[in-house]
């Protein structure tokens, strides 16, 4: 669950082009940080961090640098990149991606528009699992095989599911527990992954421990 997602986006609509010799490329990096927090794999919070850092890299192309040389320049410039938890490999990928984007845009430029400013936006999204107090509340799940072998029937009478509180559609798939209590198949299967008791009468289903 925990980890970073890093995306580098080129907003090509905003690439600034001016007339002149093709001599100068400026990369404007903008870093957006955000944190996604998950609880049990469910996104519960999405925070955009206030810290946004800009950094510009100027490259004079008439020096006809090699790809390797360009990489070095980028690497130096982004050495102190302030992003949280960015691993070295991710940083390398970012630089490569920025160069590839630049190469693509340069090759597709009309010939007389030669001085370029590339706004490059890096979105770094941190994914974190958050723990809540007593995450399982001492509940013991039902054994998987017992969930799979539940008796599935179709809804007959006008009743509602005690879990989602919604009425059964006539003929929809429902589960009749060994204690005869009836629930939507999805609802009861989800519940039994948390608990081994019937929600209505506390009839005990088998657990992995017995």
């Amino acid at each position: 669950m925990e980890g970073n997602y890093i995306g580098l986006f080129v907003q090509d609509m905003d690439v600034v082009m001016t007339h002149g010799a093709r001599s100068h490329v400026e990369f404007n990096f903008l870093c957006n940080l955000s944190v996604c927090e998950y609880y049990d794999n469910i996104l519960v919070r999405f925070n955009v961090q206030p810290s946004i850092r800009r950094s510009s890299i100027h490259i004079y192309l008439d020096r006809s640098m090699s790809h390797q040389e360009l990489l070095e320049i980028f690497d130096q410039q982004l050495r102190d990149w302030p992003v949280l938890d960015v691993q070295e490999l991710d940083r390398r990928h970012l630089i490569e991606a920025a160069l590839n984007a630049a190469a693509y845009l340069l090759s597709s430029m009309p010939p007389r528009h030669n001085v370029l400013v590339f706004p490059l936006i890096i979105d770094i999204v941190s994914h974190r699992a958050v723990a809540m107090e007593e995450p399982d509340f001492g509940m013991v799940p039902t054994r998987d095989s017992s969930i799979e072998s539940l008796n599935i029937t179709t809804a007959k009478e006008e009743q509602s599911c005690p879990i989602c509180l919604e009425d059964f559609d006539l003929g929809c798939q429902v589960v009749s527990m060994p204690c005869s209590h009836v629930f939507h198949e999805e609802c009861i299967k989800m519940w039994l992954r948390y608990s081994h008791y019937c929600p209505l009468c506390r009839f005990e289903m088998p657990t992995n421990n017995c």
């Binding site: 925990e2 995306g7 609509m13 794999n41 970012l94 007593e134 509940m139 948390y194 608990s195």
Partner: protein, 186 residues
Amino acid sequence: MSAVNSYTQDRNPNTNTTAAESPAPAPSKQPVPTAKTVDTQSVLRRLQSELMALMMGGDAGISAFPEEDNIFCWKATITGSKDTVFEGTEYKLSLSFPPDYPFKPPKVKFETSCFHPNVDLHGNICLDILQDKWSSAYDVRTILLSIQSLLGEPNTSSPLNTVAASLWENQEEYRKMVEKLYKQSA
């Protein structure tokens, strides 16, 4: 290469650190990993249906309503039952629902201080149905009714408030204490 990196690459084999030629979708729209996921819509429907039932039901001595802009947080009130030491007092509570409600219980707290063996000084409640005895068939109404009856029938064998637990035997003194603290908090 760390585990974090391999995670990133496994999940986003095509989008990880790639340059897009056109504005790319916002990363917030990345699909959420699926496992034991509960559909938010169904949680909302369930909470709305509970709210309707509460408003139609008209149970005496309990009420609950969502906060202005967040249906996952409710404010509730409970009045002390007749013929108990809590008669004539009213307590505010807060309920916050987990994203996988009703498969997990809401967190319920007293917001008004409550002198009770099973309520601590921060308003936390020790009640089995809000913990290991939780059932997905319980709802706000049954929770509030349970707390209301807990007021008059505390479990003094494992108290959070030991002072309240030891005073419980003397109902007359207890009543005086409840009245005194209730006036202070009001």
